[in-house]
């Protein structure tokens, strides 16, 4: 793929999936939850390309409806983390000194746990559901956003043009708003796309484990958990939801890679990818 082609493909994938998810109830898909025992475990066919599950539900309809949760959690958690972590990072990076320590040291504690483990621990306290999962993931991501923003602010504020603006009498809010924050925006956008990709993976994993979204809400992870019992009779029950996860993650990763190349053509890969 050409240099501009990959990010464009990423944007196209993300937009197409988001559009399908938003419009899902109005698309001619059939219900994702109606049970019809006579259709149980029907193989993929022309009218039903993904086949049907053990309760006769259309897998295509379920996958598309599941994107509502998947993308909803991804967008909510990443934006929440940016809204909380971003300002914290700007303050920490601009102030430095003890104020910086006061903000960053507690966030280091959150960063010290593996992301999936912290998310599971939070969900064990919060309970299950898409909203709670979004909040839990936002907590996990906030320190990442704060770190990325802080690093960008630290790098920008020593630039000559910032010194120049300061010498010309620009106030601190003006310096931040017109010089420092705009320069921190690109790494933040890259990180937001990476976090959205990771969110889709973690939502699926946690729902698969039974600590994410609750049934009967269609979720890609829950569908994989259901499908495990029918792997030999109906492999399509585990194949298509997994491909669905992969497509969404690929889309966000392509967007992130494209933004990163655009931001820094020299670098190959770089944004923090928490395991």
């Amino acid at each position: 793929m050409s240099r501009a082609g990959a990010p464009l493909a990423g944007i196209a994938i993300v937009l197409a999936l988001a559009l399908a998810a938003v419009l899902a109830p109005h698309l001619p898909l059939g219900s994702p939850t109606d049970i019809s025992k006579d259709l149980a475990l029907h193989a993929p066919a022309v009218g039903e390309p993904f086949g049907r599950d053990d309760l006769g539900r259309s897998l295509l309809s379920r996958v598309i409806h599941a994107y509502r949760v998947s993308l909803g959690v991804a967008v909510t958690s990443a934006l929440l983390a940016a809204l909380i972590g971003g300002p914290l990072g700007v303050i920490a990076g601009y102030a430095e000194g003890w104020f910086d320590q006061l903000i960053m040291r507690p966030l280091d504690i959150l960063m010290a746990f593996p992301a999936v483990l912290l998310a599971i621990a939070l969900m064990s306290v919060f309970g299950t559901g898409a909203v709670l999962l979004s909040i839990a993931l936002a907590v996990v991501y906030t320190p990442v956003m704060a770190r990325v923003t802080r690093a960008a602010v630290l790098a920008t504020k020593v630039e000559v043009y910032v010194d120049g603006a300061r010498a010309l009498g620009a106030t601190v809010p003006r310096l931040l708003a017109s010089h420092i924050v705009p320069n921190a925006a690109t790494p933040m956008l890259v990180q937001i796309s990476v976090l959205m990709a990771i969110s889709v993976l973690i939502e699926a994993a946690l729902s698969f484990l039974g600590v994410g979204v609750r049934p009967p809400t269609p979720s890609l992870g829950l569908m994989l958990a259901d499908g495990r019992g029918f792997m030999l009779q109906a492999p399509w029950m585990v194949i298509f939801p997994g491909l669905g996860i992969m497509l969404a993650v690929l889309g966000f990763n392509l967007v992130a890679d494209g933004l990163r190349d655009w931001f820094d053509p020299q670098a190959g890969v770089g944004a923090s990818r928490r395991g």
Binding site: R105, P114, L117, G242, M246, D257, G275
Partner: protein
């Protein structure tokens, strides 16, 4: 502040780990106290009898003020006492020690796989920017990082064990019982973890190699007529090693503690499996201790990585 001695650097990093570890323990302790309702009633669930609740409150010292409870827990941990799991009436420390070898063995195998797949992938890609190999490995790497590891595991089970019947689809046999069976049972989960991590490692080592390859000393080595092989192994690899070692350290830490989904998928009795069981059973004393134990392992592996490359590269010590 440039600290010249690697030992001083290591000591400074270790000293910084102590407050971090304390902070982690406060976080986990506080989190478990946020569970709504009387923890004793929540833990016992429908089996809660007044006597049972009273016994549990006493055993877990729930009547004491929170700071006392915390100090009691942390004091026990310092002596290696993780407390008692009142469900199985087993010491939690012993439960963790029983399950740790499984997780460690899985991590070691998966790490070996990650290195064996990831590094050649990265070198093949990084050797010639925008060549055929580079494009192919970049695409493979991107697809690899986008595949959910547990779904990859499901596909491997489907293909290699259910259809082809080559490998067992789950379960665990201890190494001392039968080394052959042990390896056979760990092969699929290790491969599952390795493929996903290798994609990340491959992408990163490609970037690291490309970054070093355009530096002046590499161009100089080429100008003085050194062969490409010698340039790669004598000049590029040693300099590209730091980011590669860092990401590998992160991945080892992740696998020690975060391979929960893969342990569940393959029904391996590891620490991650134990943690998730405790979460699903609302067994909060066990959740509290395992989450901290795993978090501490993750942090320590990262710390060791940090110290290691501080020892390798004097420039890092100054930061």
């Amino acid at each position: 502040m440039a600290t010249s001695s690697p030992w001083l650097y290591a000591a400074r990093r270790l000293a910084l780990a102590v407050p971090l570890l304390l902070g982690m323990s406060v976080l986990v302790f506080g989190l478990m106290r946020l569970v709504p309702g009387d923890p004793a009633v929540v833990i016992l669930g429908y089996k809660a009898t007044p006597d049972g609740v009273r016994a549990l409150r006493e055993a877990w010292h729930l009547d004491e003020p929170l700071p006392r409870q915390y100090l009691r827990w942390i004091g026990g941990l310092a002596r290696g006492d993780f407390g008692l799991d009142f469900r199985q009436n087993e010491p939690i420390g012993q439960m963790i020690r029983d399950r740790l070898p499984v997780t460690i063995e899985l991590t070691l195998l998966a790490t070996a796989g990650t290195v064996l797949i990831g590094i050649p992938l990265g070198l093949a890609g990084g050797a010639r920017r925008r060549g055929v190999a580079d494009r192919a490995t970049s695409a493979l790497g991107l697809i690899g990082v986008s595949i959910p590891d547990f779904w990859l595991g499901i596909m491997l089970i489907l293909g290699l064990s259910l259809f082809a019947g080559l490998l067992p689809s789950g379960g665990f046999v201890p190494l001392v019982e039968s080394p052959r069976e042990n390896l056979l049972h760990l092969l699929l989960p290790a491969l599952t973890l390795a493929i996903s991590r290798a994609a990340v490692l491959g992408r990163l080592s490609r970037a690291a190699v490309l970054d070093v390859a355009q530096r002046g000393f590499v161009q100089f080595a080429r100008a003085k007529g050194l062969g490409e092989g010698a340039i790669l192994f004598r000049h590029i690899l040693p300099n590209a090693a730091i980011p590669i070692v860092t990401i590998l350290g992160l991945q080892v830490g992740y696998m020690l503690g975060g391979a929960i989904v893969v342990e569940m998928l393959f029904t391996l009795p590891g620490v991650g499996h134990m943690t998730l069981d405790a979460v699903l059973e609302r067994n909060y004393p066990v959740v509290q201790s395992t989450v901290l134990a795993i978090g501490a392992m993750f942090m320590l592996v990262n710390l060791v990585t940090d110290i290691l490359y501080g020892v390798i590269d004097p420039r890092v010590r100054g930061r």
